[in-house]
């Protein structure tokens, strides 16, 4: 008889859902991407080169420490402000956190394609709450959707 109590790893998409449950206000979107898991994850895991291409507010990313899955990165925004982030990166799971934001990606293969989920969460309140909560949320969802489309484009570039 199979051991029913055996503990496989949590599916990354399920893990992201659980993480979001603990972060009130977190925005999560997901997209079926018409590219293999390897192609998608190659983009997501390339923090230094790929992040500025899909995240409009980021100009540069530099990895300054790496200990296995744990990284420390410096992120410079388009206004020249620099912020340190702690990150955890392994196939199918990327979690980054600074003093002000949490960003996460989760992916799993679906046949020859990939389901990619993306979470963004602001730890500190937004400085100028000029929009209503629902408007802010819709804007955050649209931003993430755009990023997922860009990642899909990057993952499918050069594909025969």
């Amino acid at each position: 008889m199979n051991n029913p109590a055996a503990s496989p790893d949590i599916d990354p998409i399920d893990r992201l859902t659980i993480l979001a449950a603990a972060l009130p206000g977190a925005v999560v979107r997901q997209r079926h991407i018409t590219a293999s898991f390897d192609a998608v994850w190659r983009v997501v895991a390339d923090l230094e080169q790929a992040t500025p291409r899909y995240e409009p507010s980021v100009a540069h990313v530099r990895i300054i420490e790496r200990h296995g899955e744990l990284l420390r990165v410096l992120v410079e925004d388009t206004a020249g402000r620099e912020e340190a982030m702690d990150a955890k990166l392994r196939p199918g799971w990327c979690l980054m956190q600074s003093a002000t934001v949490v960003v996460a990606f989760a992916a799993r293969p679906v046949g020859s394609e990939t389901l990619l989920a993306h979470l963004e969460h602001r730890r500190a309140p937004a400085p100028v709450p000029s929009q209503s909560g629902s408007h802010q949320r819709r804007a955050a969802e649209e931003k993430i959707d755009q990023e997922l489309r860009t990642i899909e484009r990057l993952a499918t570039q050069g594909r025969p």
Binding site: M1, S7, I10, R15, L19, A22
Partner: protein, 163 residues
């Protein structure tokens, strides 16, 4: 479980939450697999969601394991009682008190055939080593009810095992 790590997770530290999830998930899955074998995956995910959603309400970080146990057991019990999930359980009885003895494979199989309420108390007592008082707290039922369910569960298990 490091209370400082739990407190950090309660404050929304995502990396602490991630680590907490790694530490709690095997325990939650084990409990769900034993109490709700036909719905272990769903029960595990729902219990973990309830735990992480409710984390800020935990007043004593050092008591996290008892709280996690209670949330998990109640979630597993709720799911195992849902009729469609019980149908998926195959030979396990839905709500009856008379388990089937046919084709019994091993102890886990015998446990899976007990009615859910009896299975839960027997698993918590014999597999998890909880006291009757701890079981009562986890399930939110009187200690006397735990005692009577244990008695019936042991009798049913013995009858099944010796048949």
């Amino acid at each position: 479980m490091d209370p400082a790590k739990v407190a950090a997770a309660q404050q929304g530290d995502a990396l602490a939450l991630d680590q907490l999830l790694d530490e709690l998930a095997p325990y939650v899955r084990r409990l769900c697999a034993r109490i709700a074998p036909a719905a272990a995956d769903d029960a595990t995910q729902e219990a973990l969601l309830a735990i992480f959603r409710g984390l800020p309400s935990l007043h004593a970080p050092e008591a996290i394991m008892a709280w996690v146990r209670s949330v998990t057991v109640r979630t597993a019990m709720r799911l195992v009682r849902e009729p469609d999930r019980e149908l998926a359980a195959g030979p396990a009885p839905a709500h009856g008190d008379v388990p089937s003895f046919e084709g019994l494979a091993d102890i886990d199989d015998a446990l899976a055939r007990l009615p859910p309420s009896q299975r839960a108390v027997l698993v918590l007592r014999t597999r998890e080593g909880l006291s009757e008082r701890e079981i009562a707290t986890a399930l939110g039922i009187p200690a006397g009810t735990v005692k009577s369910r244990l008695h019936r569960a042991r009798a049913a298990f013995r009858e099944m095992w010796e048949a």
